[in-house]
Amino acid sequence: MIPATFDYVRPASLDDAVRALSDAGEDAKVLAGGQSLMPLLRLRLAVPDALIDLDRIEGLREIRDTGDAIVIGAMATHHQVIRDPLVRAHLPLIAQATQTVADPAVRHRGTFGGSLAHADPAGDLPAVASALDAVFLVRSTRGDREIPASEFFVDWMTSAMEPDELLVGVRVPKLGAGWGVHYEKFHRTAQAWAIVGVACAVRRDGDGIEDARVALTNMGPAPVRAGAVETAIRGGPASQDAIRAAAAQAPAGTEPPTDLHGSSEYRAHLATVLTARALTAAAG
């Protein structure tokens, strides 16, 4: 497949990129790693007027420690994220989930920010960002703004960013001590999209569960924060019965899609099973 014609811009600086995006109008697309955009271009489902390639911009791949949070540059590749000592030390859930993204070749090109900006509810990272209350750092010629994960994922493959806004990085608060994490991905083959995924963080307090964060992949048009599960498990015992009872709340408020790989009904069922497993693993 061959993409339709487009203008190609490869700015050398972030300022140039933001300006280029602003100038290009709403039918421009940003090329981060190409993991999702390249197939869309080749299938001609995406026919942008202009493509703004962030590949050469200095500093966008940086991952740094800001004290109580880690800021991951939008252009950090999945491969880089998985191996990064800060991510491994402070955000093991991200490292674990990223390890399940696509295949090694794609993980060397695909980027953390690109995956999130694509806002595919079947992608693994949106649910993880949601569970970790990540904050999206966005820039345009109009200035900078921060968008919390709870507001970032608006709808199916749609984020809260305006067409002229660029995702620069993502600030993820460190969970701190006492948290266990787990990403439970359910897919038919190793490289397939998750039919359902569960991103989970649990803070144990002796035999009980003090706090929990649970977010679901591919259970609706956007990642779903499973608030009912969190409420049900918080402050209770870390027993299998309690976990199962809480996990039974996972489908609450979700709108799982029906597609070739699973019906809505099946996804709802899977969410309960996988949430229980994720909680168990994270609480382990």
Partner: protein
């Protein structure tokens, strides 16, 4: 003469260039002045073409020409079907490019020829086609109903043919049978998915044409192109350069190949087309797609009385090269390795508005093997006999060969006991059964199932007379020639057409041994009709069992010719010469001798040859086998089934295959591994899905799931070796064995795991959701389970 090459696991000499891609893939070749073709394809499953406006596209940059089907209607002819299975078979016209009506999504309706490949694709957007949509026909059973919408109006029916084979008294076998099992299985539609997409390049030179194509069948393609276009056969040269897999999908005469030839003729310039993956998924012929209704009658002790097979086979929209015959190849395999008194086989070919089906790895035989191997497990369950035991009670014993089966074939050799015993040992059958019992006892959410598949297949296609009796449009021989060069190096030319199998290595091994020359001294040539003038090409696990044997015999001929020259040079009688290690010597006087190379040079110089001897050691042989070959084996699969999610994980897989004598164990191992992956994929992953409107929804690999090494277990493979008696090498063929055997082994394992839950079938592919749904349906009576294979019943006497 040594045998150090044959039987040695030599690494394949062709792999370095194939793996790196630094070779002659068709798409790698772009002669100066090449024009690029892009096809506009029907988005409709079924529609009348009411207008094609190409005027805007003709103004697009770089465009040399734009053609609709109507523009080419006079010269494009019709795509051939070479297997007319019954006299009254309905055989619709099949233009390479649609003229009046489209009948599947992806059917070509127009094409752009452009100096630039990307610009050609852009120009497609400028073609405006008007369609009048017609009803899609996607369901075979509905297609046969009274008043159904028709795929081909002029045929008056969606039925292409009904073909029947019967032997033995089925009524008697069924009458009063103590056990009768009825099942309905669906062989889902599969997309062959060769690694290299289709690609064709046609280079005109005056009124002659060289057509490069990623095809399995350069020889058959040349003849068919000549017949379709009227260009004389000797003016067409077809080259299959390195070809990256086919699995049967390149055993075809495609419209794009015919059109490339016609466009090159019209425009007088080289034209090239290479499909994209999503284009290929829509337009490469598909495989399988059958509905099987089976009735098996047996005694209480498990002995089979008879089997009734009623098939619906989806032809798709048209009959392509061997479309109608593929399901019939299975007719002779439904009895498997078992003895029975009666077999009845009926197959009805049905037209639908989908891409045509045709040969796909195994071609009719995997479907049949699946059916009988699933039925054997159902029989075992019904009688509460171990599935291995019920097979033992029915299979042909090793001392009974040769054995004429109820399907009329003569199995020349085999030893099912030996293969099964070996498999059971490698598998740890008893231990896994114990674990299964333990998990059942504990009500473990992850249940264990054990699946058995004791299969055989007919391959080495095939005796020409048999093919003739089946109205197949060609013979089943194969050709080989050996050229002995002046320096003593050897060129081998084979009519088999390798597309990833490793012929260059295996053929050199055979030649090295027969002629006593170093492996490195042998060059194998294939896939070019100007070099290999005769051939029946590669499919149906036939290369070694037919083409390899032809080479074996051609080498013997070289030795015979060389012997005459050597005898003359050594002043000895031919009878006194022995040929060992590439050297002729006089028996008893070992120091006196001539190497083959010396004899070759003498023949080349021709200064001193005996009277009546031509100055050449070259030979050629066309071999027509007297019988099929019958590889067999026992495959055992242990599958863990997560009853909470429906996920199936293969825990252990043991394949013991008997493919007769082995030329290169490494190649055999590779064939088995790849075959297993493909057969397991049918069981668990792959399915071409058309929606109710006839749209193919699995056009990309995001939806058409192919397993990778990540998804498959480590296979345990081994062999037993019972030589074929139908050829002098004792070889049988291995190209399809893994695919044929593994699908039922996996599904049997899944059903075995869930049988205590009342599950008697899971439709393929056994996706997690389907397994989950099968479990949820367990409370319902099996007989009313939709899509779950019908009821398990027993009738008669002793109840």
């Amino acid at each position: 003469m040594t045998t150090q090459e044959v039987g040695s696991p030599r690494k394949r000499s062709e792999d370095a260039r194939l793996i790196t891609g630094r070779t002659r893939w068709t798409d790698n070749m772009t002669p100066a002045g090449t024009l690029h073709v892009a096809f506009l394809r029907s988005p409709h499953a079924h529609a009348r073409i009411t207008g094609v406006d190409t005027s805007q596209a003709k103004k697009s940059p770089g465009v040399v020409a734009v053609f609709s089907g109507r523009d080419l209607a006079e010269e494009q002819g019709a795509l051939p079907c070479a297997w007319v299975v019954t006299e009254d078979m309905k055989h619709p016209d099949h233009p390479p490019m649609a003229v009046n009506e489209v009948r599947y999504v992806g059917e070509p309706v127009a094409c752009v020829v452009d100096r630039d490949k990307a610009a050609a694709v852009d120009a497609l957007e400028e073609i405006d086609v008007d369609y009048e949509p017609l009803p899609a026909v996607v369901d075979m059973e509905a297609a046969l109903a009274e008043g159904a919408d028709l795929v081909h109006d002029d045929l008056g029916t969606n039925k292409s043919y009904t073909w029947v084979f019967e032997n033995g008294d089925l009524d008697a076998a069924m009458r009063d049978a103590p056990v009768v099992i009825e099942r309905r299985y669906v062989q889902q539609r599969l997309i062959p998915t060769a690694m290299e997409p289709r690609s064709v390049l046609c280079v005109p030179e005056g009124d002659e044409f060289t057509l490069y194509s990623a095809t399995q069948i350069p020889h058959i393609l040349r003849l068919m192109l000549a017949m379709v276009t009227g260009i004389p056969e000797h003016r067409i040269r077809v080259v299959a350069p390195d070809v990256g897999g086919g699995f049967g999908s390149k055993l075809q005469v495609y419209g794009e190949e015919v059109l490339a030839l016609l466009l090159a003729r019209r425009l007088g310039r080289p034209v090239k087309w290479t499909e994209t993956r999503s284009e290929g998924n829509m337009t490469v012929h598909h495989g399988r797609d059958q509905i099987q209704r089976l009735t098996l009658a047996a005694e209480r002790d498990g002995r089979i009385r008879g089997l009734k097979v009623d098939l619906l086979a989806d032809m798709g929209a048209y009959l392509m090269l061997v479309t109608p015959g593929i399901p019939l190849l299975g007719a002779f395999m439904f009895n498997g390795i078992y003895k029975m008194d009666a077999l009845s086989f009926t197959c009805t070919g049905v037209f639908t508005t989908k891409v045509p089906t045709d040969a796909y790895r195994g071609a009719g035989r995997p479907e049949a093997t699946f059916a009988i191997e699933r039925m054997m497990d159902e029989l075992a369950a019904e009688l509460d006999i171990d599935p291995i035991e019920v097979r033992r009670r029915n299979w042909i014993k090793h001392e009974e060969f040769p054995y004429e089966t109820i399907a009329g074939l003569t199995y020349d050799s085999g030893n099912y006991e030996a293969a099964t015993d070996k498999a059971l040992e490698l598998f740890g059958y008893d231990k896994l059964r114990a674990e299964q019992a333990d998990r059942r006892e504990r009500q473990d959410p992850v249940q264990l199932g054990i699946g058995v598949s004791t299969f055989t297949e007919m391959c080495g296609l095939a005796p020409s007379r048999v093919l003739g009796s089946l109205s197949y449009g060609a013979g089943g021989w194969e050709h080989a020639s050996v050229r002995v060069l002046a320096s003593g190096k050897i060129e081998v030319i084979t009519g088999a057409s390798a597309h990833g199998q490793g012929h260059e290595t295996a053929w050199a091994q055979i030649t090295a041994d027969r002629l006593g020359v170093p492996f490195e001294d042998v060059k194998v040539l294939h896939g070019d009709t100007a070099i290999s003038h005769k051939g029946m090409d590669t499919y149906g696990s036939r290369s070694l069992a037919v083409g390899g044997v032809a080479l074996f015999s051609a080498c013997e001929k070289v030795v015979d010719k060389a012997r005459k020259v050597a005898a003359h040079l050594l002043e000895a009688s031919e009878q006194d010469l022995e040929f060992t290690g590439g050297r002729f010597s006089v028996r008893g006087v070992e120091q006196e001798g001539k190497t083959l190379q010396e004899v070759a040079l003498a023949a080349f110089l021709a200064h001193d040859l005996p009277d009546g001897i031509e100055p050449s050691l070259d030979s050629e042989v066309t071999f027509d086998p007297e019988n099929f070959s019958f590889p067999h084996g026992t495959h055992l699969c242990a599958a863990e089934v997560d009853t909470e999610t429906g996920m199936v994980k293969i825990r252990k897989y043991v394949a013991v295959d008997d493919v007769g004598k082995v030329v290169n164990p490494l190649i055999v191992e590779g064939q088995v591994h790849g075959g297993l992956a493909q057969g397991i994929a049918q069981a668990l992953y792959e399915e071409a899905v058309y929606d109710a409107e006839g749209n193919l929804t699995t056009t990309t690999m995001a939806d058409y799931l192919i397993p990778s090494a990540m998804d498959l277990p480590t296979f345990t493979t081994d062999r037993t070796e019972t030589p074929a008696t139908s050829n002098p090498m004792g070889v049988k063929g291995v190209g399809e064995a893994g695919t044929i055997a593994s699908t039922p082994a996996v599904v049997n394992a899944i059903v075995d795991a869930l049988r205590p839950h009342g599950v008697t079938d899971v439709p393929m592919p056994c996706t997690p959701e389907r397994v989950w749904r099968a479990l949820r349906a367990e409370s319902r009576p099996a007989a009313t389970e939709p899509g779950a294979g019908g009821g398990l019943g027993s009738a008669g006497g002793d109840q």
